[in-house]
């Protein structure tokens, strides 16, 4: 495709304008394969203005099947196994451990009091998660930028970023909470490292020849950072955000689970329901917590596509 488009003489290039976008269809379509959450048509319109509809709807339908029907089938199997374990494997006394799904839905979600208390717990957990994540994003990106500016900064800080990640947070949380307040600490710690490492990786992944191009024009480091390194780092930065967000949710819940303080969050409730043997509400809360994780993951995937999807094609190396 490269040859045909390029070899058209200057005068005739306009006729080629129609052909060019159609070639970009292929990578876009392929791109959907690597990111299951992506709607195959989702990225295309921005980059390819006059996309002809030919073959589009059947491909879209195929995409719908693989994106909706297949996961739904897996879900059905999952529910089936759940019923089987709940009714077939567990006896009457053990059933509280895994009540059948409809009971979980009825008591956990459809009971108004239970539902509102869960929603307020969800709200609290969300606030804590996102506040921690936001702080962590700002700090993490700042630290990564600092590291990218000088080797000695990188060498002095990076090992500690690793330590922050590997340290058993649960053990440290009470101490740190004493100084910084419980709510945020564990979330910041959990989500810090993926952001730092991914952002740093992105900042350092810029081609040598791109750097040289900037050097040839005596670009100062801030212009270089702003016009070259930061934009280039965006894809991996968002990757870091997404991983960090997932971890923050887990961090928030685990933290609440062990250090119940103040208003109850999802983790606090998990702990309470476990001790009260309230299987239905326990499972409803567990499902809600995982949905929160999924929502956060999907949100950051969507955000990344909004910001860099137009130019960043992971397949293209």
């Amino acid at each position: 495709m490269a040859a045909s488009t390029a070899s058209v003489p200057a005068g005739t290039t306009t006729s080629d304008a129609v052909a060019a976008p159609s070639t970009t269809r292929t990578p876009t379509g392929a791109g959907a394969g690597s990111a299951p959450v992506t709607d195959p048509g989702g990225i295309a319109p921005s980059g390819a203005p006059p996309t002809p509809g030919r073959g589009g709807s059947s491909r879209r339908r195929a995409g719908l099947v693989s994106l909706v029907v297949l996961p739904a089938a897996v879900f059905a199997v999952f529910v089936g196994i759940w019923y089987w374990v709940s009714d077939g494997v567990l006896n009457e006394q053990q059933r509280f451990m895994l009540p059948p799904p409809h009971e979980v839905v009825r008591i956990g979600f459809l009971d108004w009091t239970n539902f509102t208390s869960m929603m307020s717990a969800l709200k609290l957990t969300c606030e804590v998660t996102f506040a921690g994540l936001a702080i962590s994003m700002v700090l993490g990106v700042a630290v990564a930028i600092a590291m990218s500016q000088a080797r000695w900064i990188e060498h002095s800080l990076y090992p500690w970023a690793v330590v922050v990640q590997t340290v058993p947070i649960l053990a440290l949380t009470p101490v740190l909470s004493f100084f910084f307040g419980f709510a945020l600490t564990s979330r910041i710690i959990v989500s810090f490292f993926p952001i730092v490492s991914n952002t740093l990786f992105g900042l350092q992944s810029v081609d040598r020849s791109m750097h040289e191009l900037f050097s040839l024009h005596h670009t100062n480091r801030w212009t270089r950072l702003w016009k070259l390194q930061l934009p280039a780092a965006l894809p991996s930065m968002f990757n870091g955000f997404r991983n960090a967000a997932g971890l923050s949710v887990i961090g928030a819940i685990v933290g609440e689970f062990y250090f119940k303080q103040g208003d109850p969050g999802l983790g606090t409730n998990l702990s309470v329901f476990t001790s009260r043997l309230e299987g239905e509400r326990l499972w409803a809360t567990t499902l809600t917590a995982s949905l929160l994780g999924v929502a956060v993951f999907v949100f950051f995937g969507w955000l990344a596509r909004r910001v860099v999807g137009r130019w960043y094609q992971p397949d293209r190396g």
Binding site: A3, T5, A10, T24, L216, H217
Partner: protein, 323 residues
């Protein structure tokens, strides 16, 4: 041929310094001053080149080595005509790990000259360009550049994937702090020049390899450099695209009259483009032969199929092969 260059080189030694000092305000504000000279050349360029028509028959008359340069160069600015645009004198380059890439290399490129370098892989061709551009410093010898307004075209297009063609083409002008209006004017003009009209809003990944290379060329052309360095810019393209881009590069050369130092692996490409083809020996690199190309500009694409052209290619290849 080489002797001719050397003598001109030494005689203008002082004027090189002068040119360098005036040229130094080029990069600071490429919009003004010194490059007016280049602009004058550009308008005058097509004039004299009409005289040297595509017919390769006129060849032998200008075949007297370095003088052919003067023949192509528009008459007028005497100083610009004799002062070398780029000159390596006894240049050696040893890298920190001990690799010797170049030894005692002499090479002069005059304004209006298009010099191609061919040589075995690893003989230091890229190193030569990096020295010329100031990306690396010489270990021994001296390197003079008449102007600091140097264009550098890399082997890959090195476009910023998040910028549209227009924004990519404007990048260097932006880094050189040209005013917004001036930038917009030059970018629009240059995009037309390289034949990318209608693709201004496309992103690099939506372009073919050849079009990306055009954008990369345009990006450097925007600053109207007086010296152009090319490191195998068309090496990754197929034959047809490469020939088309060669034709267009020559069109720009005739129009803009920069001094060019062009690295390639293709002997035919070197001969087709250049006023001189320099053959380098294997590592450590040094200049082994300096073959003047007697054809005038503009050059018709059919030149590639003429017997004179083939003979010259054969001559260069012979130099390449005799290790």
């Amino acid at each position: 041929m080489t002797p001719t260059d050397t003598t001109t080189g030494t005689s203008t030694d002082t004027s090189t310094g002068a040119a360098a000092s005036t040229g130094s305000d080029g990069p600071a504000d490429p919009g003004t001053g010194t490059r007016a000279g280049t602009g004058g050349d550009a308008s005058a360029g097509p004039g004299p080149s009409n005289g040297t028509h595509p017919s390769p028959g006129t060849a032998p008359t200008v075949g007297s080595g370095g003088e052919s340069v003067g023949g192509v160069e528009p008459a007028g600015d005497g100083a610009a005509r004799t002062a070398p645009a780029l000159r390596f004198t006894g240049v050696s380059k040893r890298f920190r790990d001990g690799t010797v890439a170049l030894v005692d290399t002499d090479l002069t490129v005059h304004p209006g000259e298009f010099v191609s370098i061919v040589g075995p892989s690893g003989c230091g061709k890229s190193t030569l360009l990096r020295l010329a551009s100031g990306l690396d410093a010489v270990t021994d010898g001296t390197m003079d550049v008449a102007s600091r307004n140097v264009g550098y075209v890399f082997q890959d297009a090195t476009l910023l994937p998040w910028r549209t063609v227009r924004a990519n083409v404007g990048l260097l002008a932006e880094l050189e702090h040209l005013s917004r209006a001036e930038r917009a004017r030059r970018v629009a003009e240059t995009i037309s020049l390289v034949g990318l009209d209608g693709f201004e809003r496309h992103l690099p990944h939506e372009l073919s390899g050849g079009m990306r290379m055009r954008a990369s060329l345009a990006r450097s052309l925007v600053l109207d450099p007086s010296i152009f360095l090319f490191d195998e810019p068309f090496g990754a393209l197929d034959e047809m695209t490469r020939e088309r881009l060669n034709d267009e590069l020559l069109r720009m050369f005739v129009l803009r009259r920069f001094a060019a130092l062009f690295i390639t692996h293709s002997v035919a490409e070197a001969v087709f483009l250049s006023t001189r083809v320099v053959v380098m020996s294997g590592r450590p690199g040094r200049v082994k032969a300096d073959v003047p190309v007697p054809f005038g500009y503009p050059r018709a694409p059919e030149l590639r199929y003429s017997p004179e052209f083939a003979a010259l290619c054969g001559q260069v290849s012979a130099h390449l092969r005799s290790e």
